[in-house]
């Protein structure tokens, strides 16, 4: 017998495809992965602790910087938690609609980025990712129009949204949304049936539903394992119960299924957006009397179906203007737990693909 040794390599924190500063210690037998240890914390900024020194409204910008791809969704989850804690409400109708519009646009942005960079990890040299980023730009322009900022909007605040959108926003958004299905079809045609893509993604990173649930995985990864769990349906928040949309699931349990779920969810987001943009009423966008938030002592947990999965904020108030505890349930961190399980036994090339198919943002993992 040939005597062989395993090889340990560090992938990251500086590596072309670790999606931010993330390090994996891979133990390889040839090219096959025997063990994988994720190391993170490179982007730790102490957001949860710092938030205890700030008022509830001052904390909104921190939420932008968790999952920095999806600022709007983070704002929404935090606003819901504060509203629950302080008993703010009812939220004006127009604000609710704007929240849904922003959250769904964010979902499209996130899935664009996820699919684009997954393809980059697969080695499709920048063409798909640029198509995706082009679409993302259109949506970021909308965010800029509404909030003045493209990635860190701080737009959705406790009580509503910070200010009404300019009059040209709704027509512009309608135009972008009308173009969405064609964009998804384009991606679909370019990628879904591609022989190499299928060979690379099918049966890679298989996560059986029992394991997914045991790890607490949520979002497209869970639905890609065939579990029809979507908080927008399971526990509707905001006004999601008014819209007609499907929860996309795929039975594949592999990276390909996750890819298909993301494509499908973009289509569903377009459906929701069409309905919301058609129905949005006029009116105020901020609840009455939300001046200085000083919730009574107590605690609250609010969660949303963020693009990457369940995003929750757990807040404890001691009656002061600052939260006593500000805890984030980070989607990316919890989805990351399943990484080792999915990677062991695959080749090095698959590890980056599996990592891409989970779709992480290190800002949220490390906080």
């Amino acid at each position: 017998m040939l005597r062989t040794e395993t090889l340990s390599i560090n992938v990251g924190p500086q590596h072309p495809s670790t999606h931010g500063v993330f390090r994996m210690l891979l133990t390889l037998d040839g090219e096959r992965v025997v063990d994988l240890k994720p190391y993170f914390g490179y982007l730790h900024r102490g957001i949860e602790k710092t938030a205890e020194q700030r008022t509830y409204v001052q904390n909104v910008p921190f939420t932008d910087r968790l999952d920095y791809i999806c600022g709007m969704s983070n704002n929404l989850a935090y606003a819901l938690a504060v509203e629950k804690l302080a008993g703010i409400g009812p939220i004006p109708e127009r604000a609710e609609y704007l929240r849904v519009i922003m959250a769904e646009l964010t979902r499209v942005v996130n899935h664009c980025v996820a699919i684009g960079f997954l393809l980059n990890d697969l080695g499709a040299f920048f063409t798909p990712v640029l198509y995706c980023l082009r679409q993302r730009e259109y949506i970021l322009d909308l965010f800029e129009m509404a909030s003045g900022s493209r990635m860190t909007p701080s737009y959705i605040r406790p009580g509503g949204v910070v200010e009404d959108v300019p009059p040209e926003f709704i027509p512009a958004a309608k135009k972008v949304v009308a173009g969405l299905p064609a964009f998804v079809d384009e991606l679909d045609q370019l990628l879904t049936g591609n022989e190499i893509l299928m060979a690379r993604l099918q049966n890679v990173g298989v996560l059986p539903p029992e394991r997914a649930i045991a790890y607490g995985v949520t979002g497209p990864v869970l639905r890609g394992s065939g579990v029809a769990y979507d908080i927008r349906r399971a526990e509707p928040y905001s006004i999601y119960d008014r819209f007609d949309f499907d929860v996309i699931t795929e039975p594949g349990q592999d990276a390909y299924a996750r890819f298909l779920v993301r494509l499908g969810e973009m289509r569903q987001s377009a459906r929701i957006l069409e309905q919301a943009l058609a129905q949005i009423p006029e009116g105020p966008v901020m609840a009455e009397g939300v001046r200085r938030i000083r919730p009574p002592a107590g605690e609250a947990y609010a969660r949303i179906e963020a693009p990457k999965g369940e995003l929750g904020f757990y807040l404890i108030s001691d009656g002061s203007p600052n939260p006593y505890r500000f805890r984030v349930r980070p989607t990316s961190l919890i989805n990351l737990q399943a990484l080792r399980d999915m990677c062991v036994g695959h080749l090095v090339a698959d590890v980056v693909v599996i990592l891409g198919s989970i779709d992480l943002t290190m800002g949220e993992v490390d906080r």
Binding site: L7, I9, H15, P16, S17, E31, L119, N120, D121, L122, G123, A124, F125, F126, T127, L130, Y131, R134, L190, N194, E195, I196, L197, M198, A199, R200, Q202, N203, P208, P209, E210, I213, S225, G226, V227, A228, Y229, R233, A234, E235, V247, T249, P251, G252, Q253, L347, V348, A349, D350, V351, V352
Partner: protein, 386 residues
Amino acid sequence: MPSLNNLFGFLQDWISGKLSGFLPPWGVTLAMMVITIVALLLFLVVTVMYLTYLERKVLARIADRLGPNRAGPLGIAQPVADVLKLIVKEVIVPARADVPVYFLAPVVMVAPALLPYAVLPFGPRMVPADISVAVLFVPAVTSITTLALLMAGWGSGNKFSLLGGLRAVAQKVSYSIPLLLAFLAVVLVSGSLSLVRIVEAQASYPFLLAQPLGFIIALICCVAEVNRSPFDIPEAESELVAGYHTEYSGVGFAMFFLAEYIGMFTVSAMLAILYLGGWHGPLLPPYIWFLIKVYLILCVMFWLRGTFPRVRVDQLMNLSWKVLLPLSMVNVAVVALVDKLGLRLGFLPGLVAGLVVMAVAAAVLRTRRRARAAAAARPAWQVREA
């Protein structure tokens, strides 16, 4: 008045005529050799520089961008800037490098990459040495670069480089076999191993029409031979950072880059010579036709790179050993059979036979993939909706 068709032959005669006035015959031969070599090297270096520019422009258009457009009008000075940058860049030797091997690898990479140009015919009378075994000579010398890749991978003292080097060796060895088998079919029909004779044999129709299957096999193998996407796994950026040349900077990196693009040009030229009829074509001078055909194949390579994801190591090996190798054997058999029957119908029997084999192979592969996908499909497992 020299005809444009034979411009280079005329130049050659003119220069040697001038030289023979004051040099002995052996001196003229030597001088002509040096002039040819220098001319070829200049041509290659400039070609490579502008291939990178062309590639970036083409890829940019595919990806809905503009590409380089800052240096000079339309960015045409970009390659010059790139070369200058690479030359003045500091060469950093990794602490754990095996220094002699590390420095030798780029040289071993470039030198064999240049050798094929001794035998590649750019036109009639435009071949430095028309040797009788050129079809074997080109793959033989280009496969020396495999050694350089392994040296670079080992000498860098970096694990990513080592993996890249090992992948490169496995890939080059695997794809040389179907490639040569595909070339064998061409040799079989033309009855010669000389590239000039092979081109001359295609005066009536290019072998692409008679051997479509052989061309596709050769094209896939050539893309794999030069480590281009979708077979760029030795330097897979997203997995191995940059593979075997991760630790090279400055001139060392430039050498690998140069060799890679010269390699691309070589395989495209081989495909143009063996399958597209080399310099044959109406109206335009032969060397222009040859370059048009070469650039056509190069653009196909750019196009592949702009569109396709990368295959995985094991899939790469499967493709070579389980699909391309049997198919290339079938191709040799079919071509031999068609040639033997000699139906006097030109390329038609070959074309039909090739297309039939391709259709059968595609059908078989598709059913196998379906079977695999069906075996892998798991029952959906639904959680009761809350």
